[in-house]
Symmetry: C2
Subunit: 252 residues, 2 copies
Amino acid sequence: MPGTIQSIERAAQALHLLGAVPEPLPLGELARLLDLPKTTVHGIVRTLCEVGFVVQDPATGHYSLGSGLADLGRAVDPHLLRARVSHWADGLAARTGLAVEVAMLRGPTAELVAHVFRPDGSPQRLRVGELVPAHATALGHVLLAWAPVASRVRELALTAYTPTTPSTHVALGRALQLARRQGWAALDGGLTLGTAGVAAPIHHQVGTAVGAIGVVGPSDQVLQPSGAPHPGLVEQLLAAAHATASTLRDRL
Amino acid sequence: MPGTIQSIERAAQALHLLGAVPEPLPLGELARLLDLPKTTVHGIVRTLCEVGFVVQDPATGHYSLGSGLADLGRAVDPHLLRARVSHWADGLAARTGLAVEVAMLRGPTAELVAHVFRPDGSPQRLRVGELVPAHATALGHVLLAWAPVASRVRELALTAYTPTTPSTHVALGRALQLARRQGWAALDGGLTLGTAGVAAPIHHQVGTAVGAIGVVGPSDQVLQPSGAPHPGLVEQLLAAAHATASTLRDRL
DNA sequence: AACCATCGTTCGACGATGTCGAACGGAACG
DNA sequence: CGTTCCGTTCGACATCGTCGAACGATGGTT
């Protein structure tokens, strides 16, 4: 039986000790209990502080368990995501003149958790709560591209809503690869001819996206004749996504 | 600013990923998301499995968060300790003919969480819930000797109940050092003249004791004229303490 | 039945990183 | 003011983590 990684075991022991007492522990005490030199323990708790599993009381220098541990088992609540994203989504709609939608992956679909109307006063219908097929929307492409279990794509039923809907796994795979490469996704007429969307991932943990934010509107207002998004659109989307992700990392 | 420990950071990233999805992740998927070779990730998750932070589904081989993480923030519940210790405490009382008490540290006192009567049928009073001064009992000496924050001893008010109560910090310190060295504590007449106790720590995490188990009775039945415990008494105590600790580590 | 792909796992070479003694500045105490 | 103890930094060194190669097991395909 091969060995395990000593530094991870030691970190776990430090966490156990910090969890065993309600009050913060000084470094020397931790070192004494772990039977390790202070500098060794200091390296461990400094790393645990950086990843949020341990916090250091600035006044006393003592250490205790951090909220990062409690957060591990919790997926981001849709209401929390909506709360955090709405400010940026409002601004994005105002600046782009387009409707803004935010979605989270729900099996083969994208569930809209936030929707800001395009600001031109035209009649619109609130779509929050609606499930849209992930393969047929830019939002869905982003969610699939950054889903933890990418192999799930093989299981999707790829209904062709329009001639431009990716309706084979090869076509969808290519679109997702392109999204991963460029960091965003665009799709023209995937669900409705004449309507296009561009979306970007909202990251919470390394490598995956908790949601996606996108703009959607008439194709000629979202994309240039070349098929590329209008100048500045992608940058604004990425900025909104990044800002939302930052607020998600804030502790309440 | 000096660096942090890469392997601990990587372990934390693995835990975040496992926490981000409700279903278990295969090793290859974890490796892809972490952008690390499979063998590297395997070493990390094997270690996390060993410390209980991750579990592996035996059927599929996939990994998910373990209960060890949730356990970190929770001290052992007195009712749980009582439930786990009672079998061993009953046996100890039967074999030694002495009353058995189990306690947990509560500030400067030892709180009795379990009490088994001496089996001679004499009238006795149930003492569960009672707080006894830690410095004046063998149980309390054990709890103080293996407390996470040893420096708290300085803050104790050392009331002298009998001439043999350790009533200076020096005397108490010596008694605790002796306890740590020999792995158990004995005290004759600390609280009541003519009554002696011997106690051993119940460990849950490395280096600390979650509780203590001890026998208490007339001095001549607990200790030999030399002051040493009766033969076999310490071994039986340590066995009961160890068995209790083992059941505490079991997952319900 | 044979072949193939992919899985989790083990082995072991190698050098990158973790370990930890020495030493630091700061805070608290007598 | 001197002393003690704290958390922290530095840097030498060799231990340990990394990871390519390869394994047996499993499931799917022909």
